[in-house]
Amino acid sequence: MTALTLPQSDLTTGRNAAAQFVGDVWVLTKRSIARIRNEPETLSNVTIQPVMFVLMFAYVFGGAIGIGGGAYHSYLIGGMLGMSLAQTAPGTAVAVVSDMSTGLIDRFRSLPMSRAAVLTARTIADLLTQVIGAVVVAAVGLAIGWRIDNGIGNAIEAFALALLFGYAFTWAGVCLGMVLRSPEAAQQTGFIIFLPLTFVSSAFVPTQSMPGWLQPVAEWNPMTSLAAATRQLFGNPNPAAAVHAWPEQHAALAVVCWSAAMLAVFAPLAVRLYRNKGR
């Protein structure tokens, strides 16, 4: 039986649970990054797509959208940032469904590893792709004439808020991936959820231009809060400042509250769904 046992120096079992969790997450995040290196085209949703949308809104629709003072090119980037980050969530769902449908997840579930690590690593890898998305949106924004007009400190705060918001959506994407059965279903359901979420908001048009019955919906849409908060922090045109609803008046706080609420609901739910998978 001696051949069966490994020396204690080869094992990490002596480390505490938190260190083991971080180690597991790191190992699995590297796995997701290796996948991206292998298939860089999976990054198109945070590279080509945002460039396309910025150019389309700036040069096709933008001229027809009145924002009540200020340049549409400057207005656009705050909304674009929110859209580019939140719309990575269906991609997260697709990745989770694909993972769950392979035998690999059964192996992970039979290992003495942390239950939450698989999903957390997925969200960390997707957060890294969101950073790429934020950089791309900012770069193409600068190219079309968008500027940071309120100091670099506020701009950093704006990006941090956008990434927090994007990260919270990633956990929603994980839950979606856990309850759906095929990558196609995840893609389509994601589209159905995230399209109205993005467009019934102030991401691309001021909420004041919408019919009265729709305005409260748009005003309380988390996407509207993020667009308003980032526009304010960048010093860009922000028509939402004239709206008296609470999320517009406290946009940054609203983003933090929305994100915290989503994390509090979706992260534990995702881990619970993972634990019970196949029961």
Partner: protein, 320 residues
């Protein structure tokens, strides 16, 4: 060390909707042995392995691996087991080596130990040349070997092999069998599910035959075979017309009734095994003037066991 067997399962029940996949399954697997779970598709073999490897919880009943309960002490159980399922549990986009290192680290090995073990196992399973390639470029046999290597990375004391050779060609299957024999020689306990009777016969020192979620027979392969009639005598006569005479001559040797087929030169008879049986039979037939063109004595196969116990043949053709 206590006398606790490697695996003990008592009254396992698991339902999926209206289907009782496990229906009061009992199992005891001694340490350091290869134990075969034999049964047709849908008998409950995979569900049994999934319960024992902590992937699903039983609805009732208990199971212990080296004394640790699979439901209550799942993390402790996971430290002692390895699992190779029916489908390769690997990341298609990572290289073979990266897969092993990842699974090693997740099995609580340090990065250094995981790399060392990965290289050892790649060497041992003849995968060193393919180590730097993405798994999606591997053949079926290579995937199975890498998958098995992944299960072994942390030196599990109990290894579950769920249909390890289903879909493999004969040479890949032979290689898998060699690996299994090496593992048990190293002291690992193996629980092997298979629908191939010859595989269970070749590898397992004990076998449980499962049907509809229950163990319907258990024992060493030789005992199971003996239980359905010991040995079989196969006789090919030179002349069809001698069949009736031959049947009379054979009657004292047979354990059952002989019903000769007048249109066949072949007689198959259950007999009591004894040394020099064939010689005695030939001599007796010769005395009676019956010419024999061929005679063979074979042990009852697990196919015979299976047919006798379940009333249907093993469904090998479904996957081969």
């Amino acid at each position: 060390m206590s006398e606790e067997p490697a695996i003990v399962a008592e009254g396992l029940v698991k339902c999926f909707g209206k289907t009782r996949a496990l229906d009061g399954l009992d199992l005891t697997v001694p340490r350091g042995t290869v134990y075969g779970l034999l049964g047709p598709n849908g008998a409950g073999k995979t569900t049994c392995v999934r319960v024992l490897s902590t992937l699903i919880k039983p609805d009732s009943g208990t199971a212990r691996i080296f004394g640790s309960d699979v439901a209550a002490s799942a993390q402790a159980v996971r430290k002692t087991i390895g699992l190779t399922g029916q489908y390769a549990a690997l990341d298609e986009y990572l290289t073979g080596r990266a897969n092993l290192i990842m699974i090693g680290q997740l099995s609580r090995l340090t990065a250094k130990a995981a790399k060392r073990r990965a290289d050892e196992l790649l060497e041992r399973f003849g995968l060193t040349d393919a180590a730097g390639r993405a798994v999606k470029t591997y053949s079926g046999g290579m995937r199975r070997r890498l998958d098995l290597a992944a299960s072994l990375i942390s030196h599990p004391q109990v290894l579950f092999l769920d249909e390890p050779t289903t879909g493999l060609d004969p040479s890949a299957r032979a290689l898998m069998w060699d690996i299994v024999r090496q593992l048990v020689a190293d002291g690992t306990t193996l629980l092997l599910t298979t629908q191939y009777l010859d595989e269970a016969d070749q590898l397992a020192s004990r076998i449980a035959v499962i049907d509809t979620g229950k163990v319907i027979a258990e024992g060493a392969p030789a005992d199971l075979k003996a239980s359905v009639g010991g040995q079989r005598l196969l006789l090919t006569l030179a002349e069809e017309s001698d069949a009736a005479v031959a049947a009379q001559v054979l009657a004292p040797f047979a354990t059952g009734l002989i019903t000769p087929d007048e249109h066949s030169r072949i007689l198959e008879v259950s007999v009591i095994a004894s040394d020099g049986l064939a010689t005695e039979v030939v001599r007796a037939l010769d005395t009676a003037g019956v010419k024999v063109s061929d005679i063979a004595v074979r042990t009852a196969s697990l196919d015979d066991v299976f047919l006798t116990l379940t009333g249907h043949v093993a469904e090998e053709n479904k996957t081969s």
